[in-house]
Amino acid sequence: MTEKSVKTSSKKRKFVWILGIFFLSAALLSGSLYQCLPLLIKKLVPIVAKSEGYAVRLSEVRKSYGLITLERIRISHKEIRGEIQRISVEYSLWPFGLKEITLEKPDFKVIPGASAGMDFGFNRTLVWLLGKVSIVNGEIELKTTSFVADLSAFSITRKELLSLAQGPNDLSPASIISGRISVMTPEIQADGDLKGMLDWNSTRFHLMSKGKIIVDKFQGRTVYNLKTSGRIDPQMGGLSAEADLAVHDLCSIFPFLSEETTKSDSDSNISQSCPVSISASIRYLLAEDLKVSGKLALKDTRLSSISGIPIIQGTWRVKASPDLKNGYIDAGFELRELPISIKLSWPGENGNQWEAVARISSTNYDFSNIKGPILSGLGDIIADVFVTPDSWKVSMDLGVKDLSWARDENHAFEGISSKIELLANYDGSFKNISWKGNLEWSEGAALVYPWFLDLTQFAGSVETIGTLDKKKLLFNKIAVSGPFELMAREISLDCNLNDNTAKLSQWKMPKIQVLKAKGKLEIPYKILFQEPFSAEYDFLNDLMPKGTWLVELEQGSLRTEIKTDLSFSGHDVIQGMDLNLGYPIYTDICQPGLIKWDRLTWPPLSLEKTKIPLTVCKGNLSCGPIKIPVAQGEISLKEISWDWPASSLKLGELRLIGVDLKSFWPDLPLSVDIEGDLDQGKWSDPRLCFDGEILVNTTGGKIRFQNIWIEPLAPMPSFGADVVFHDLDLAQLSDAAQFGHITGKLTGHIDHLIMSGGQPESFELVMENDSKAPGPKRISLEAVENISILGGGGSIPFFGRMFKEYPYRRIGISCSLNNDLFTLHGLIKKDGKEYLVERGLIRGVNVINRNPDGKISFKDMLDRLKRITRTGQE
């Protein structure tokens, strides 16, 4: 029993000793470890890190009670190189555990691998400026400090623009960004915000963004998802943008986040990183009346597959590369209340093929949404656009009702009802656009001042088929039906679409292979001439053609054929008129023409079948010689030439031979024949002046018209001449005028005669009897009375009425008209008196002007002439 007890106590002591030695050793080891901990950490951490692919170097490790401080830790990896100024690890020995880990001034540079062959890459260093990373009780907090940084160090650019993007001023140092990121573990969800101002290429953007990063396990690997929304307000009028962006799997952007190791990863090529899906909704608020919203979805592709340049004007150009698969952009927006849907998709199976489909569809669309008060009306619109890299197609059906538009007072239309159909497509292989269009109109009115068109009366349609390439616009067919018929084929127009400065006026004359148009003459006459110009040229209201017109292209010249009858004020003037003109368009050869009529009646003129040949050259129309038999005589014209570029009209050798006026006026009490020789007529707007004279032979004497001019297009058509006459038989003249009876010969002149609108405006008349002419000089009592009436009255004494006729010695009268005032003078001046008629030697009657300074108004003169006329008729 004793031995058993001794054995037992011996075992216990042995155990106590072993335990004591163990604890002592442990204490000594722990103490040694604690003392050696900085050294261990300093030596072991680089070894452990190296096994993970990192190179870590610690400058100093310090310890104090419950705190280990690691100073200046340099870490480098194939894509990361940086330094943490200080890591503080606070722990508690009882209960044992970490209380806080703090990283101060972590400063890393992310260095990408070779970026060659990539669309997208970091070509600069990314400076990750974080103030502090704290892990407290399992929660990680990352704090940034507000900073003013040279963010030009960070730029993302397409490699084509590398040299441009490397400019130091893309993002100026004036940019200010501050932000905050909070990261929560163990789920590792981070959220933060970013705000500031970016000064980019002198345009300032105010930026405000909130975001969240969620780290999740997905199919056995860690996925970093980003959701963010923000608003950018550039300092540009009316432009702001909002965006929501969700990036799933950030490893695509930052490959060091990827857990997978691929061959490419080892080559430091981020283009072969894991797939990414991005969805975004974008709202552009370009202006108050333009809202754009849409969806963007990229699936199973890499962000590096897209390169793009945002343009401030609100467009975004997207280029798809071959490895972009099964993506699409589907957007719908309303432009001026007009719904537009666009879908851009790239199926992927066809390599780099992509296609875009746009549709505009609306019923009873109010066109006032487009141009406010300038444009109004309703329309049904269906337009489809289908675009691929090599071709596009457009089809459009537009039906408008009561469409009205006004550019200004001179250009407008209203109440238009019309249908427009258009089919166009672009063929990349032929590099041209072909189209087919059809336009129908049935109601409305159009004004292109001075022309007005009532479309209700002239419903019609136009059909066109054609092509357009960079050098030529070709109409294969133009067909018009309605108020007239037109068919044109192969009309080509040279143009240069690459030259934006080329103006329409610089375009050359189109080449037309086939052209034929015809219609009734009444319609174009009414629309083109009568209605617009009759307010100024009243005769157009009285003139009315009735016939047909035909225009046809024939051997390089445009032939016009007009067959018509002409009436004036309801009376037939020209019957069976045929006007045949050719104008040389594609040739320099002058074209013959012809004007002929069966009968021309313009009382008293009447001409039977007449033919006048014409010649039309470029910019010139001429005809002659012309010989027209008129009133037993002839009018001949050697040449008439109208040169319209120079506004020049020339008449060459106009001759009147033996034209007997009595043929025109059978009641004419005198025999009058006219001959003339006007060598040349020259046009000097608005006057046509003639050299030469017209000679009128009557009553045995001659009347010469010289210095003749006419102003046919003046507001009041007028003509003028100087007139000289001599040897006119007074007896015949006075009898014809029922003025009484005077014998003798009359001579004199009219200077500066101007007739305006058929009425005398001014003249200076001097007339007297020819004192050398043989024969008796007698004047009837009636003639004396009439001369007296013209002079203002003076009664003949009773004894003067005893004889019906008196001898006279001389008659001399001057008369002038100016400003509707006549002055009348006697040419014979004796004893301070003015004699209109001087009596004979033995007997006779003197007619004396007692009021030589008096003026006679036009109205008074008319009254006096009426009295004379009345007397003569009695």
Partner: protein, 190 residues
């Protein structure tokens, strides 16, 4: 001393000579105003004018009658064949223009021409017709001003003054509702 006197005399002569340069400008404003008043009133029917039939002299029996039958116009301070016939045309046209003047579609400008003020109350066809009538009227008015100036021997450079004087008369005789421009750019409705 004589040299000084000679110099002074010479200088004095130059001063007198240059000081005596006189520019005589004569603009017959009274005559133009009288003509404008008479024409405006006659065109707008505010003064009785003679019936053309009274002076038509019937059918021409004597060649003296070839002068014509359309002289039946009231005697004016200034007149001639051009003025009379233009005036007759304007008078005939006034019946078409008067409704548009009253509606405020047309206005009488300070330059003696008609202007289109507001065509919103008329349709496109009426607008085309009004514009044509206004164009014809203004063409006639300018021809009238030129004819009056020529008759009064007023140079072409003074045509604007003639227009201004006529403008006042057109505005005075315009019907109620017409827009008038008494001063340049200032419009008011009668």
């Amino acid at each position: 001393m004589p040299k000084i006197n000679l110099k002074l005399t010479f200088m004095f002569s130059i001063i007198i000579f240059t000081a005596c340069v006189t520019v005589n400008i004569y603009f017959p404003a009274a005559e133009v105003r009288q003509a404008a008043e008479e024409i405006a009133k006659d065109v707008r029917g505010q003064e009785p004018s003679q019936d053309p039939a009274d002076t038509g002299a019937g059918e021409p029996q004597s060649f003296l009658n070839l002068i014509g039958t359309a002289y039946a116009q009231q005697e004016l301070a200034i007149s001639n064949a051009t003025i009379r016939q233009i005036k007759a045309r304007m008078k005939a046209r006034y019946t078409q223009l008067a409704p548009f003047l009253k509606q405020g579609v047309l206005g009488e400008s300070a330059k003696g021409l008609l202007v289109i003020r507001d065509t919103s109350s008329i349709n496109l066809k009426a607008r085309a017709e009004v514009k044509r009538q206004v164009s014809a009227e203004n063409s006639d008015r300018m021809a009238l001003y030129s004819a009056v100036s020529k008759a009064l021997k007023i140079s072409g450079s003074e045509l604007a003054r003639v227009q201004e004087i006529f403008a006042r008369e057109w505005q005075k005789t315009a019907p109620k509702g017409t827009w008038i421009e008494p001063g340049s750019g200032k419009w008011e409705q009668r």
